[in-house]
Symmetry: none
Subunit: 240 residues, 2 copies
Protein backbone atom coordinates (compact mmCIF):
# COMPACT_ATOMS: atom_id res chain seq x y z
CA UNK A 1 0.00 0.00 0.00
CA UNK A 2 2.95 2.25 0.71
CA UNK A 3 5.78 2.13 -1.80
CA UNK A 4 9.02 3.30 -0.26
CA UNK A 5 10.72 3.37 -3.63
CA UNK A 6 8.10 5.57 -5.19
CA UNK A 7 9.21 9.04 -6.17
CA UNK A 8 6.18 10.30 -4.22
CA UNK A 9 6.98 11.12 -0.60
CA UNK A 10 5.79 8.58 1.92
CA UNK A 11 3.80 11.14 3.88
CA UNK A 12 1.99 12.09 0.70
CA UNK A 13 1.13 8.47 -0.05
CA UNK A 14 -0.28 8.03 3.45
CA UNK A 15 -2.20 11.25 3.15
CA UNK A 16 -3.87 10.21 -0.10
CA UNK A 17 -4.56 6.75 1.29
CA UNK A 18 -6.43 8.27 4.23
CA UNK A 19 -8.29 10.63 1.95
CA UNK A 20 -9.38 7.70 -0.21
CA UNK A 21 -10.65 5.67 2.72
CA UNK A 22 -12.80 8.58 3.75
CA UNK A 23 -14.07 9.29 0.26
CA UNK A 24 -15.01 5.66 -0.37
CA UNK A 25 -16.83 5.52 2.93
CA UNK A 26 -14.55 2.91 4.42
CA UNK A 27 -14.02 5.42 7.21
CA UNK A 28 -16.95 7.58 8.22
CA UNK A 29 -17.28 10.86 10.08
CA UNK A 30 -16.64 10.30 13.76
CA UNK A 31 -14.60 7.15 13.19
CA UNK A 32 -11.33 6.96 15.02
CA UNK A 33 -8.23 6.40 12.94
CA UNK A 34 -5.54 3.95 13.98
CA UNK A 35 -3.26 5.77 16.41
CA UNK A 36 -0.11 7.32 15.02
CA UNK A 37 1.99 4.63 16.67
CA UNK A 38 -0.06 1.80 15.21
CA UNK A 39 0.09 3.48 11.85
CA UNK A 40 3.85 3.80 11.91
CA UNK A 41 4.26 0.15 12.88
CA UNK A 42 1.87 -1.11 10.23
CA UNK A 43 3.58 0.81 7.46
CA UNK A 44 7.01 0.51 9.00
CA UNK A 45 7.66 4.20 8.86
CA UNK A 46 8.53 6.74 11.51
CA UNK A 47 5.75 8.22 13.60
CA UNK A 48 6.87 11.68 12.51
CA UNK A 49 6.20 10.74 8.92
CA UNK A 50 2.70 9.66 9.83
CA UNK A 51 2.24 12.92 11.70
CA UNK A 52 3.26 14.89 8.65
CA UNK A 53 0.47 13.24 6.70
CA UNK A 54 -2.11 13.63 9.43
CA UNK A 55 -1.15 17.23 10.22
CA UNK A 56 -1.91 18.38 6.71
CA UNK A 57 -5.28 16.66 6.70
CA UNK A 58 -6.07 18.08 10.12
CA UNK A 59 -5.23 21.57 8.85
CA UNK A 60 -7.57 21.05 5.95
CA UNK A 61 -10.31 20.03 8.34
CA UNK A 62 -10.57 16.50 7.01
CA UNK A 63 -9.40 15.03 10.30
CA UNK A 64 -9.82 16.15 13.90
CA UNK A 65 -7.13 15.53 16.45
CA UNK A 66 -7.92 15.28 20.14
CA UNK A 67 -5.13 15.06 22.62
CA UNK A 68 -5.34 11.97 24.79
CA UNK A 69 -8.19 10.56 22.75
CA UNK A 70 -7.23 10.04 19.18
CA UNK A 71 -7.64 11.26 15.63
CA UNK A 72 -11.06 11.18 14.04
CA UNK A 73 -12.67 11.67 10.68
CA UNK A 74 -14.20 15.14 10.78
CA UNK A 75 -17.84 15.83 10.14
CA UNK A 76 -18.36 17.19 6.66
CA UNK A 77 -18.29 20.94 6.85
CA UNK A 78 -21.58 22.39 7.85
CA UNK A 79 -22.41 25.27 5.58
CA UNK A 80 -21.36 28.53 7.07
CA UNK A 81 -24.85 29.83 7.67
CA UNK A 82 -24.61 33.50 6.95
CA UNK A 83 -20.96 33.47 6.13
CA UNK A 84 -20.32 35.30 2.96
CA UNK A 85 -22.78 37.20 0.90
CA UNK A 86 -26.41 36.47 1.14
CA UNK A 87 -29.21 38.24 -0.56
CA UNK A 88 -32.25 39.30 1.38
CA UNK A 89 -34.12 36.46 -0.28
CA UNK A 90 -31.68 33.80 0.89
CA UNK A 91 -31.35 35.44 4.26
CA UNK A 92 -35.06 35.32 5.01
CA UNK A 93 -35.46 31.78 3.73
CA UNK A 94 -32.68 30.72 6.05
CA UNK A 95 -34.65 32.21 8.90
CA UNK A 96 -37.75 30.31 7.92
CA UNK A 97 -39.57 33.40 6.71
CA UNK A 98 -41.22 33.94 3.37
CA UNK A 99 -39.38 36.71 1.54
CA UNK A 100 -41.32 39.25 -0.46
CA UNK A 101 -40.75 42.56 -2.11
CA UNK A 102 -42.65 45.67 -3.20
CA UNK A 103 -41.17 47.73 -5.97
CA UNK A 104 -41.22 51.42 -5.15
CA UNK A 105 -39.05 52.79 -7.90
CA UNK A 106 -37.17 51.50 -10.90
CA UNK A 107 -35.16 53.71 -13.22
CA UNK A 108 -32.04 54.03 -15.29
CA UNK A 109 -30.27 57.24 -14.37
CA UNK A 110 -26.87 58.85 -14.03
CA UNK A 111 -25.12 57.85 -10.84
CA UNK A 112 -25.56 60.11 -7.83
CA UNK A 113 -22.37 61.14 -6.10
CA UNK A 114 -22.29 58.51 -3.36
CA UNK A 115 -23.13 55.71 -5.74
CA UNK A 116 -20.52 56.82 -8.28
CA UNK A 117 -17.97 56.88 -5.52
CA UNK A 118 -18.85 53.43 -4.27
CA UNK A 119 -18.94 51.94 -7.75
CA UNK A 120 -15.78 53.75 -8.84
CA UNK A 121 -17.39 55.21 -11.91
CA UNK A 122 -17.86 58.67 -13.36
CA UNK A 123 -21.04 60.47 -12.31
CA UNK A 124 -22.33 60.47 -15.88
CA UNK A 125 -22.32 56.68 -16.05
CA UNK A 126 -25.76 55.10 -16.22
CA UNK A 127 -26.88 52.99 -13.29
CA UNK A 128 -30.07 51.24 -12.32
CA UNK A 129 -31.68 52.64 -9.21
CA UNK A 130 -34.11 50.22 -7.64
CA UNK A 131 -36.03 51.02 -4.48
CA UNK A 132 -37.85 48.20 -2.79
CA UNK A 133 -39.56 47.44 0.47
CA UNK A 134 -38.47 44.00 1.55
CA UNK A 135 -41.04 41.84 3.27
CA UNK A 136 -40.78 38.84 5.57
CA UNK A 137 -44.05 36.97 5.89
CA UNK A 138 -45.67 40.07 4.37
CA UNK A 139 -44.37 42.36 7.12
CA UNK A 140 -42.04 45.20 6.06
CA UNK A 141 -38.52 44.36 7.17
CA UNK A 142 -36.22 46.62 5.22
CA UNK A 143 -36.25 49.55 2.86
CA UNK A 144 -33.61 49.09 0.26
CA UNK A 145 -32.06 51.19 -2.48
CA UNK A 146 -29.86 49.41 -5.00
CA UNK A 147 -27.54 50.96 -7.56
CA UNK A 148 -26.20 48.64 -10.24
CA UNK A 149 -23.57 49.51 -12.80
CA UNK A 150 -25.31 48.91 -16.14
CA UNK A 151 -22.04 48.58 -18.03
CA UNK A 152 -21.22 45.51 -15.98
CA UNK A 153 -24.64 43.98 -15.41
CA UNK A 154 -26.32 44.63 -18.74
CA UNK A 155 -30.07 45.08 -18.92
CA UNK A 156 -32.18 44.21 -15.93
CA UNK A 157 -35.90 43.61 -16.38
CA UNK A 158 -38.37 45.50 -14.26
CA UNK A 159 -39.86 42.37 -12.72
CA UNK A 160 -36.85 41.69 -10.49
CA UNK A 161 -39.05 42.54 -7.58
CA UNK A 162 -39.90 38.98 -6.75
CA UNK A 163 -36.59 37.46 -7.62
CA UNK A 164 -33.18 37.54 -6.15
CA UNK A 165 -31.06 39.92 -8.16
CA UNK A 166 -28.03 37.82 -7.39
CA UNK A 167 -29.45 34.64 -8.80
CA UNK A 168 -30.76 36.56 -11.80
CA UNK A 169 -27.32 37.94 -12.55
CA UNK A 170 -25.58 34.64 -12.01
CA UNK A 171 -28.00 32.50 -13.96
CA UNK A 172 -29.10 34.76 -16.78
CA UNK A 173 -26.09 36.92 -17.28
CA UNK A 174 -23.32 34.61 -16.15
CA UNK A 175 -21.99 37.39 -13.98
CA UNK A 176 -20.10 36.02 -11.01
CA UNK A 177 -20.16 37.85 -7.73
CA UNK A 178 -17.25 37.00 -5.53
CA UNK A 179 -17.07 39.16 -2.48
CA UNK A 180 -18.43 42.17 -0.77
CA UNK A 181 -17.83 44.84 1.77
CA UNK A 182 -20.45 45.79 4.28
CA UNK A 183 -20.87 48.51 6.83
CA UNK A 184 -23.26 48.50 9.73
CA UNK A 185 -24.47 51.48 11.65
CA UNK A 186 -27.32 52.33 13.94
CA UNK A 187 -29.59 55.23 13.23
CA UNK A 188 -33.10 56.54 13.71
CA UNK A 189 -35.78 56.17 11.06
CA UNK A 190 -36.31 59.27 8.95
CA UNK A 191 -39.72 60.19 7.60
CA UNK A 192 -39.45 58.16 4.41
CA UNK A 193 -38.07 55.07 6.11
CA UNK A 194 -40.67 55.25 8.85
CA UNK A 195 -43.45 55.42 6.29
CA UNK A 196 -42.18 52.56 4.16
CA UNK A 197 -41.47 50.33 7.13
CA UNK A 198 -44.66 51.24 9.00
CA UNK A 199 -42.79 52.26 12.12
CA UNK A 200 -42.54 55.47 14.12
CA UNK A 201 -40.22 58.19 13.00
CA UNK A 202 -37.19 58.02 15.28
CA UNK A 203 -37.49 54.28 15.82
CA UNK A 204 -34.16 52.43 15.65
CA UNK A 205 -32.99 51.22 12.26
CA UNK A 206 -29.93 49.26 11.26
CA UNK A 207 -28.32 50.83 8.23
CA UNK A 208 -26.43 48.37 6.10
CA UNK A 209 -24.46 49.42 3.07
CA UNK A 210 -22.97 46.88 0.79
CA UNK A 211 -20.68 46.97 -2.20
CA UNK A 212 -20.36 43.74 -4.13
CA UNK A 213 -17.61 42.96 -6.57
CA UNK A 214 -17.04 40.81 -9.60
CA UNK A 215 -14.24 38.31 -9.95
CA UNK A 216 -11.94 40.91 -11.44
CA UNK A 217 -12.52 43.29 -8.54
CA UNK A 218 -14.75 45.79 -10.27
CA UNK A 219 -17.66 47.04 -8.14
CA UNK A 220 -20.99 45.87 -9.49
CA UNK A 221 -23.56 46.98 -7.00
CA UNK A 222 -24.07 49.43 -4.16
CA UNK A 223 -26.94 48.81 -1.77
CA UNK A 224 -28.22 50.96 1.06
CA UNK A 225 -30.70 49.27 3.38
CA UNK A 226 -32.59 50.37 6.46
CA UNK A 227 -33.65 47.39 8.54
CA UNK A 228 -36.21 47.59 11.32
CA UNK A 229 -34.24 47.58 14.54
CA UNK A 230 -36.99 45.86 16.46
CA UNK A 231 -37.27 42.90 14.13
CA UNK A 232 -33.94 42.36 12.47
CA UNK A 233 -30.65 41.12 13.79
CA UNK A 234 -27.72 40.45 11.53
CA UNK A 235 -25.62 37.40 12.30
CA UNK A 236 -22.29 36.59 10.81
CA UNK A 237 -19.64 33.98 11.36
CA UNK A 238 -16.05 34.94 10.90
CA UNK A 239 -13.51 32.29 10.29
CA UNK A 240 -10.08 33.51 11.21
Amino acid sequence: MIDKNSPLPIYYQIQEMIRKKIETGEWNPGDMLPSERIFSEDFDVSRMTVRQAVTELANEGVLMREKGKGTFVAEPKIEQPLQGLTSFTEDMKARGLEPGSTLIQYQLRTAPRKAAEALQIKPETKVYEIKRVRLADDVPMAYETTFINRELAGDIPEDVENRSIYSFLEQEKGVKIVDGEQTFEASLANTEEAERLAIEEGAPVLLIQRITYLEDGSPLEYVKSAYRGDRYKFTINMPR
Copy 2:
Protein backbone atom coordinates in the same frame (compact mmCIF):
# COMPACT_ATOMS: atom_id res chain seq x y z
CA MET B 1 14.55 35.74 23.14
CA ILE B 2 13.50 32.10 23.32
CA ASP B 3 12.62 30.81 26.78
CA LYS B 4 12.94 27.06 26.97
CA ASN B 5 11.26 26.97 30.35
CA SER B 6 8.22 28.86 29.18
CA PRO B 7 4.96 26.93 29.14
CA LEU B 8 4.58 28.14 25.56
CA PRO B 9 6.04 25.72 23.02
CA ILE B 10 9.35 26.73 21.50
CA TYR B 11 8.03 26.53 17.96
CA TYR B 12 5.25 28.93 18.93
CA GLN B 13 7.70 31.39 20.43
CA ILE B 14 9.79 31.30 17.28
CA GLN B 15 6.69 31.71 15.17
CA GLU B 16 5.57 34.81 17.07
CA MET B 17 9.08 36.21 17.02
CA ILE B 18 9.18 35.95 13.25
CA ARG B 19 5.73 37.48 13.00
CA LYS B 20 6.86 40.38 15.14
CA LYS B 21 9.96 41.06 13.08
CA ILE B 22 7.78 41.27 10.02
CA GLU B 23 5.15 43.43 11.66
CA THR B 24 7.69 45.89 13.02
CA GLY B 25 9.32 46.13 9.62
CA GLU B 26 12.62 44.69 10.76
CA TRP B 27 12.10 42.14 8.01
CA ASN B 28 10.44 43.29 4.83
CA PRO B 29 8.65 41.51 2.00
CA GLY B 30 11.17 39.74 -0.20
CA ASP B 31 13.81 39.54 2.53
CA MET B 32 15.42 36.18 3.03
CA LEU B 33 15.21 34.69 6.49
CA PRO B 34 18.20 33.09 8.16
CA SER B 35 18.38 29.50 6.97
CA GLU B 36 16.79 26.84 9.11
CA ARG B 37 20.20 25.59 10.19
CA ILE B 38 21.43 29.02 11.18
CA PHE B 39 18.19 29.54 13.05
CA SER B 40 18.49 26.30 14.96
CA GLU B 41 22.09 27.01 15.90
CA ASP B 42 21.37 30.55 17.02
CA PHE B 43 18.51 29.47 19.26
CA ASP B 44 20.08 26.16 20.14
CA VAL B 45 17.03 24.20 19.14
CA SER B 46 16.50 21.38 16.70
CA ARG B 47 16.04 22.22 13.06
CA MET B 48 12.75 20.33 13.09
CA THR B 49 11.47 22.71 15.72
CA VAL B 50 12.37 25.66 13.53
CA ARG B 51 10.64 23.96 10.64
CA GLN B 52 7.47 23.54 12.67
CA ALA B 53 7.37 27.29 13.23
CA VAL B 54 8.18 28.17 9.65
CA THR B 55 5.78 25.60 8.20
CA GLU B 56 2.82 27.15 9.94
CA LEU B 57 3.73 30.63 8.80
CA ALA B 58 4.28 29.36 5.28
CA ASN B 59 0.83 27.77 5.35
CA GLU B 60 -0.63 31.06 6.45
CA GLY B 61 1.07 32.79 3.57
CA VAL B 62 3.27 34.94 5.76
CA LEU B 63 6.43 33.25 4.51
CA MET B 64 7.39 31.72 1.18
CA ARG B 65 9.69 28.72 0.95
CA GLU B 66 11.77 27.94 -2.09
CA LYS B 67 13.69 24.74 -2.26
CA GLY B 68 17.40 25.24 -2.73
CA LYS B 69 17.12 28.97 -2.25
CA GLY B 70 15.71 29.86 1.11
CA THR B 71 12.69 31.18 2.97
CA PHE B 72 11.40 34.65 2.29
CA VAL B 73 8.96 37.15 3.73
CA ALA B 74 5.86 37.02 1.55
CA GLU B 75 4.28 40.05 -0.03
CA PRO B 76 1.56 41.41 2.24
CA LYS B 77 -1.87 40.03 1.45
CA ILE B 78 -3.97 42.30 -0.61
CA GLU B 79 -6.06 43.73 2.16
CA GLN B 80 -8.68 42.18 4.40
CA PRO B 81 -8.65 45.20 6.65
CA LEU B 82 -11.38 44.27 9.03
CA GLN B 83 -11.66 40.71 7.89
CA GLY B 84 -11.78 38.36 10.80
CA LEU B 85 -11.83 39.18 14.45
CA THR B 86 -10.52 42.45 15.63
CA SER B 87 -10.48 43.73 19.14
CA PHE B 88 -11.63 47.22 19.90
CA THR B 89 -8.01 48.17 20.40
CA GLU B 90 -6.95 46.98 16.96
CA ASP B 91 -10.08 48.37 15.40
CA MET B 92 -9.48 51.88 16.65
CA LYS B 93 -5.81 51.84 15.78
CA ALA B 94 -6.75 50.86 12.25
CA ARG B 95 -8.95 53.93 12.13
CA GLY B 96 -6.13 56.14 13.28
CA LEU B 97 -7.68 56.75 16.68
CA GLU B 98 -6.08 56.29 20.06
CA PRO B 99 -7.91 53.51 21.89
CA GLY B 100 -8.55 53.88 25.60
CA SER B 101 -10.63 52.24 28.25
CA THR B 102 -12.22 52.98 31.60
CA LEU B 103 -12.89 50.08 33.90
CA ILE B 104 -16.38 50.24 35.36
CA GLN B 105 -16.65 46.84 36.93
CA TYR B 106 -14.47 43.79 37.32
CA GLN B 107 -15.63 40.71 39.14
CA LEU B 108 -15.59 36.97 39.23
CA ARG B 109 -19.15 35.69 39.48
CA THR B 110 -21.46 32.89 38.50
CA ALA B 111 -22.64 33.18 34.92
CA PRO B 112 -25.94 34.97 34.32
CA ARG B 113 -28.40 33.10 32.14
CA LYS B 114 -27.60 34.71 28.80
CA ALA B 115 -23.86 34.40 29.31
CA ALA B 116 -24.14 30.77 30.39
CA GLU B 117 -26.15 30.07 27.28
CA ALA B 118 -23.70 31.78 24.97
CA LEU B 119 -20.70 30.13 26.58
CA GLN B 120 -22.42 26.75 26.78
CA ILE B 121 -21.71 26.35 30.46
CA LYS B 122 -23.75 25.69 33.57
CA PRO B 123 -25.05 28.78 35.36
CA GLU B 124 -22.96 27.97 38.42
CA THR B 125 -19.71 28.18 36.45
CA LYS B 126 -17.49 31.11 37.38
CA VAL B 127 -16.96 33.77 34.77
CA TYR B 128 -15.23 37.12 34.71
CA GLU B 129 -17.59 39.99 34.15
CA ILE B 130 -15.77 43.05 32.92
CA LYS B 131 -17.58 46.26 32.16
CA ARG B 132 -15.66 48.94 30.35
CA VAL B 133 -16.26 52.18 28.58
CA ARG B 134 -14.20 52.13 25.42
CA LEU B 135 -12.67 55.41 24.33
CA ALA B 136 -11.39 56.68 21.02
CA ASP B 137 -9.22 59.76 21.39
CA ASP B 138 -10.66 60.03 24.90
CA VAL B 139 -14.25 60.22 23.67
CA PRO B 140 -16.63 57.44 24.78
CA MET B 141 -17.29 55.17 21.84
CA ALA B 142 -18.76 51.99 23.28
CA TYR B 143 -20.01 50.50 26.50
CA GLU B 144 -18.92 46.93 26.70
CA THR B 145 -19.66 44.00 28.96
CA THR B 146 -17.42 40.96 28.63
CA PHE B 147 -17.97 37.52 30.08
CA ILE B 148 -15.00 35.19 29.99
CA ASN B 149 -15.07 31.54 30.95
CA ARG B 150 -12.52 31.31 33.74
CA GLU B 151 -12.06 27.60 33.28
CA LEU B 152 -10.70 28.24 29.80
CA ALA B 153 -8.91 31.53 30.25
CA GLY B 154 -7.37 31.13 33.66
CA ASP B 155 -6.78 34.15 35.85
CA ILE B 156 -7.04 37.58 34.35
CA PRO B 157 -5.44 40.53 36.13
CA GLU B 158 -7.52 43.56 36.88
CA ASP B 159 -5.33 45.91 34.86
CA VAL B 160 -6.57 44.62 31.52
CA GLU B 161 -8.27 47.94 31.03
CA ASN B 162 -5.51 49.42 28.96
CA ARG B 163 -4.55 46.28 27.15
CA SER B 164 -6.13 44.16 24.52
CA ILE B 165 -7.61 41.11 26.20
CA TYR B 166 -6.93 39.12 23.05
CA SER B 167 -3.25 39.83 22.96
CA PHE B 168 -3.06 39.21 26.69
CA LEU B 169 -4.65 35.79 26.31
CA GLU B 170 -2.56 34.87 23.29
CA GLN B 171 0.77 36.04 24.61
CA GLU B 172 0.58 35.29 28.30
CA LYS B 173 -1.70 32.30 28.39
CA GLY B 174 -1.03 30.73 25.02
CA VAL B 175 -4.76 30.60 24.45
CA LYS B 176 -5.54 30.63 20.75
CA ILE B 177 -8.66 32.33 19.52
CA VAL B 178 -9.72 31.11 16.15
CA ASP B 179 -13.09 32.38 15.13
CA GLY B 180 -16.15 34.19 16.23
CA GLU B 181 -19.78 34.83 15.64
CA GLN B 182 -21.24 38.30 15.72
CA THR B 183 -24.68 39.79 15.66
CA PHE B 184 -25.54 43.38 14.86
CA GLU B 185 -28.72 45.15 15.73
CA ALA B 186 -29.92 48.68 16.07
CA SER B 187 -31.46 49.95 19.27
CA LEU B 188 -31.98 53.02 21.39
CA ALA B 189 -29.73 53.87 24.29
CA ASN B 190 -31.15 52.91 27.68
CA THR B 191 -30.44 54.97 30.79
CA GLU B 192 -27.20 53.23 31.69
CA GLU B 193 -25.81 53.25 28.19
CA ALA B 194 -26.73 56.89 27.72
CA GLU B 195 -24.94 57.82 30.92
CA ARG B 196 -21.79 55.88 30.17
CA LEU B 197 -21.58 57.08 26.58
CA ALA B 198 -22.51 60.65 27.37
CA ILE B 199 -25.37 60.68 24.92
CA GLU B 200 -29.11 61.27 25.18
CA GLU B 201 -31.35 58.48 26.28
CA GLY B 202 -33.05 57.18 23.15
CA ALA B 203 -30.14 58.04 20.89
CA PRO B 204 -29.28 55.32 18.36
CA VAL B 205 -26.84 52.63 19.42
CA LEU B 206 -25.42 49.71 17.51
CA LEU B 207 -25.59 46.58 19.64
CA ILE B 208 -22.91 44.09 18.82
CA GLN B 209 -22.73 40.71 20.48
CA ARG B 210 -19.81 38.45 19.92
CA ILE B 211 -18.93 34.95 20.91
CA THR B 212 -15.35 33.91 20.32
CA TYR B 213 -14.12 30.37 20.25
CA LEU B 214 -10.95 28.45 20.91
CA GLU B 215 -9.33 26.08 18.47
CA ASP B 216 -11.34 23.17 19.78
CA GLY B 217 -14.61 25.02 19.34
CA SER B 218 -15.31 25.78 22.97
CA PRO B 219 -16.73 29.25 23.57
CA LEU B 220 -14.28 31.43 25.46
CA GLU B 221 -15.86 34.83 25.58
CA TYR B 222 -19.21 36.53 25.23
CA VAL B 223 -19.22 40.27 24.66
CA LYS B 224 -22.13 42.67 24.53
CA SER B 225 -21.30 46.13 23.26
CA ALA B 226 -23.32 49.26 22.70
CA TYR B 227 -21.64 51.54 20.18
CA ARG B 228 -22.62 55.14 19.68
CA GLY B 229 -24.68 55.24 16.50
CA ASP B 230 -23.55 58.73 15.62
CA ARG B 231 -19.87 57.99 15.76
CA TYR B 232 -19.34 54.36 14.94
CA LYS B 233 -19.70 52.41 11.74
CA PHE B 234 -18.70 48.79 11.49
CA THR B 235 -17.02 47.68 8.29
CA ILE B 236 -16.38 44.18 7.20
CA ASN B 237 -15.09 42.47 4.11
CA MET B 238 -16.47 39.12 3.18
CA PRO B 239 -14.46 36.92 0.92
CA ARG B 240 -16.75 34.38 -0.64
